[in-house]
C-alpha cells in the first residue's frame, strides 16, 4: 500500500485521483502508525517552505518518514515535498530540511536570465540526464507542469532530469530510495501519470 503524507498542507485530491486512475491502492496517512504500514510514500506539498516544514515536524510525520527512509522504503517528494528532502532552503531566511538528499533550495530569480518571469509556471520539457527506473515509461523531452519560485541546486550528483529555463532547473532527483520531482506529475497529463506508475513499481 502506498501512503500519501497528510500533514495539513495542500490539496491531496488531485494526487489521490491520479493514483486512482492508475488503479494504485493508496491511503492518506495522518499518523506515524499509518505511515509505517505503507510500503512506499509520497510527500506532497505546496505553499511556503518554513510553514510546511514546521507542520511536517509538528505532526510527528517527519520523524516517521526519516525512519521509513532508513528502512529503505521508496519515497517520492513532489514540488515543495521534494524541496523539503534537501538540507536547507533559503525561502525567506534559512530553514532546515530533512537532509535526505545533499543540496540546497535557492531562489530562481538570483540565477536565471533577467527578464524571465518568476514563478516558473507552465509546461517545460524534461530532459533526462541520468537514466533511472523512474523513466521506464517516460521519454526524454516530454513536457511536465511546473509551478515554483525556488529550485534545488548543488545537487548535480543526485539529479536525474532537468528543464531549461536559461539554466538547467533541477526537475527530478534521487538519492538511494529517495526520489523527488520539482514539477507536478499529477498535473502533467499522461506523461506525469507514467512517472507515477513507474514510481509505484520501483
Amino acid at each position: 500500500m502506498l501512503a500519501i503524507v497528510d500533514y495539513g498542507v495542500g490539496n491531496l485530491y488531485s494526487l489521490s485521483s491520479a493514483l486512482k486512475a492508475l488503479s494504485v491502492q493508496h491511503c492518506i496517512a495522518k499518523t506515524p502508525e499509518e505511515l509505517h504500514m505503507a510500503d512506499r510514500i509520497i510527500l506532497p506539498g505546496v505553499g511556503a517552505f518554513a510553514d510546511a516544514a514546521r507542520k511536517l515536524r509538528q505532526s510527528g510525520m517527519q520523524e516517521a518518514l526519516v525512519e521509513d527512509v532508513g528502512a529503505g522504503k521508496p519515497v517520492l517528494g513532489i514540488c515543495l515535498g521534494m524541496q523539503m528532502l534537501f538540507e536547507a532552503s533559503y525561502e525567506y531566511g534559512r530553514h532546515e530540511g530533512l537532509g535526505l538528499i545533499p543540496g540546497e533550495v535557492c531562489p530562481l530569480i538570483d540565477d536565471i536570465e533577467p527578464g524571465l518571469k518568476v514563478p516558473h509556471i507552465g509546461w517545460n520539457r524534461l530532459d533526462i540526464v541520468k537514466d533511472d527506473p523512474l523513466f521506464r515509461y517516460f521519454e526524454t523531452g516530454r513536457y511536465v507542469y511546473y509551478v515554483h519560485s525556488y529550485y534545488a541546486k548543488r545537487c548535480r550528483e543526485y539529479t536525474l532530469a532537468t528543464s531549461d529555463y536559461s539554466i538547467p532547473v533541477t526537475g527530478a532527483v534521487r538519492n538511494g530510495s529517495v526520489y523527488g520531482t520539482q514539477f507536478h506529475p499529477e498535473k502533467s497529463g499522461e506523461a506525469g501519470l507514467m512517472l507515477l506508475k513507474a514510481f509505484v513499481e520501483i
Binding site: 485530491y13 505546496v46 509556471i121 513536457y143 515554483h148 498535473k187
Partner: protein
Amino acid sequence: MISKRIIPCLEIRDGRVVKGVNFEGVRDVADPVEMARFYNESGADELVFYDITASFEGRKLFTELLRQVAAQVFIPLTVGGGINSLDDFDRVLRCGADKVSVNSGAIRDPSLIGAAAKRYGDQCVVLSMDIKRVDGAFHLFAKGGREDTGMDALDWAKRGVEHGAGELVVNSIDTDGVRGGFDLELLDAIAERCKVPIIASGGAGCKEDFARLFMHEGMDAGLAASIFHLKQLLIPDLKAFLRESGIEVRL
C-alpha cells in the same frame, strides 16, 4: 523553455457550459465533464472554469462537477466566478482546483488578493480583469463586464501583482466575441507594467490570432471559449500551426 499555453475556458451555469457573445445572450454547448476530457485528450494545457451561477444549488452543482473533472483530467485547473472570500478559495481548492481566479470579489475587497496569496501562495491566485476602452482609457469593469468601476485597469493590474497575484487573465470586452484577434494594444500595456504570466482572453477567431499573440513579448497563454467549443478551431491543428511558426508549444 516554458511553452506557450492554450487554454479553453468553460463558463458554467447550472452545471452546463454556456458562452456569451459580448456577454449577452448565452447558449448551451455541452456537458462540462465530457468537454474537459475532450480538451485534455486534444492537448489543452490547462482548463479554466467560470461559475456564472448565482444560486446556492447551482454552486453546489458546480463544485460537484469540478470534483468529477479533477478525478479524470490531470492538467492544471483554474476556477473562477463568485470568489469573494478565503472560504470560497477553500471550497474550490478542496474540489481539485489548482488556481483560483478572482475578479469582482477583489475589486470589492482588494485585500483578498494578499490574504489568499499568503495562505495558498502567489501561484494560486489569478487576477482576472474585464477591461474596456472608455474615452480613450482602459477602464476596469466589474460584475461580468456589466459595470464600469471607473478605475484605471492598468493601475489595477499593477496593484494586483504587488498584492500577490501570480498570474493575470486580461479579458478585453472590446474584442470579446468579435473574433478579430486578441487586443494586443491592451495586452502590451499590461505586459509592460506586470512581470507575471499573462493569459490573453477575448477575440481569438483563428489560429493566426494565436500566432500574432505569441509573437508579442510577455504573452504566456491564449484563452478562448466558443471557437474551441464549436470545434471551429481544433487544438491539435492550432498547436501544429504554432510549432511550424516557430512558437514552442507542448505537443
